[in-house]
Symmetry: C2
Subunit: 195 residues, 2 copies
Amino acid sequence: MSKTRAKSSEARQRIVETAERLFYSEGVRAVGIDRIIAEAAVAKMSLYNHFPSKDDLILAVLQYREEKYGSMFMKWMERHAAAGMDRLEAFFAALKNWFESPGFRGCMFINARVELADARHEGSKFSVRHKERFHEMLAQIITQTAGEEAAKTMTPAIALLVEGAIVTAVMQQSSQAADVARDAALAWIAQAKEK
Amino acid sequence: MSKTRAKSSEARQRIVETAERLFYSEGVRAVGIDRIIAEAAVAKMSLYNHFPSKDDLILAVLQYREEKYGSMFMKWMERHAAAGMDRLEAFFAALKNWFESPGFRGCMFINARVELADARHEGSKFSVRHKERFHEMLAQIITQTAGEEAAKTMTPAIALLVEGAIVTAVMQQSSQAADVARDAALAWIAQAKEK
DNA sequence: CTTAAAACAGACAGGTCTGTATACTTTCGG
DNA sequence: CCGAAAGTATACAGACCTGTCTGTTTTAAG
């Protein structure tokens, strides 16, 4: 039963974490294999034993990133929710935390989709599906704050506000866009409730 | 007085136009110099006589793109305005035209900012300034539709809607986001006018 | 202790990249 | 018609890229 080796390979984990850091901060095309193995301190063959090609590594990094940032975002949100915010307010507060986190350079999935250019690349496809999942999570949050009816009609527009805020935060190198998006979304929901 | 040569160099123009097409569709890092000179049918030295380095060419392409798409966007808008739309409606209709134009792959300035990664790159700096100019134009359009007061408070949020729509149109490979952004922006303005 | 998987180390093949150098050809103003 | 400017053609340097190959060392299960 027991695995033939360690937990899930320390070398593999080191490769994925190093690649994530480098790919995110400099781009998937700008960072080469040699750089990754040097900074992860692994042999080239260790990388190619775990990942048949760089494209496979890119995909693995995106999967890892979704898991890691999914749980990190949830933790941020819960902290704000515990401090008395409703779910949607907590979401935007967490968004701002993210924008202000060191080395922030936007959404890795948008960036990957842009850099890979080819929509058929597995990394592109995964990024597109990630956005679907992200918007689904957002829909649930809006449901908890404004009810199912309101969520159905307002989620698409609020999703645009969020995506726009991410991109704008990168361009302006400022987290201010998170506040603008929050105010607009909350004002809109408040108005809908009045009716 | 007369120029020492042609108008403004046909070879140079061919280089810029070819580079724009390739950079936009495949990315500035993915497309090499050799590819550009081959498709532009110029000698390598012609390129390097006009542009000291690839980075300079990238900047020149971004400048060219801003001019070209600025006037193209205006033309689209005017066509819709002539058909009876107010300025902001015409803006979103033009946005949709853009999303549906063949080979659409998002905003080249966002893409360049993502691909170049380095914020100090001249291409990055120009892209950031382009967004400032773009948002200024948007502010003027909103002013014409909703008045100066309303424009001041609503432009930042509507700008997020627009940026979000651009990114989402790429991810979903659909122009639907333009409609979502338009409906949200118009509803918001209508509500502000009621008060 | 044996053994096989896993990781390490490093050379290398074959291609691509940016940028330079050299020599030839075309164009056109004066 | 001369000469400078602009463009062409091509070879090449040197770096970097992905991926392969060969061989050694470490690790841990049985």
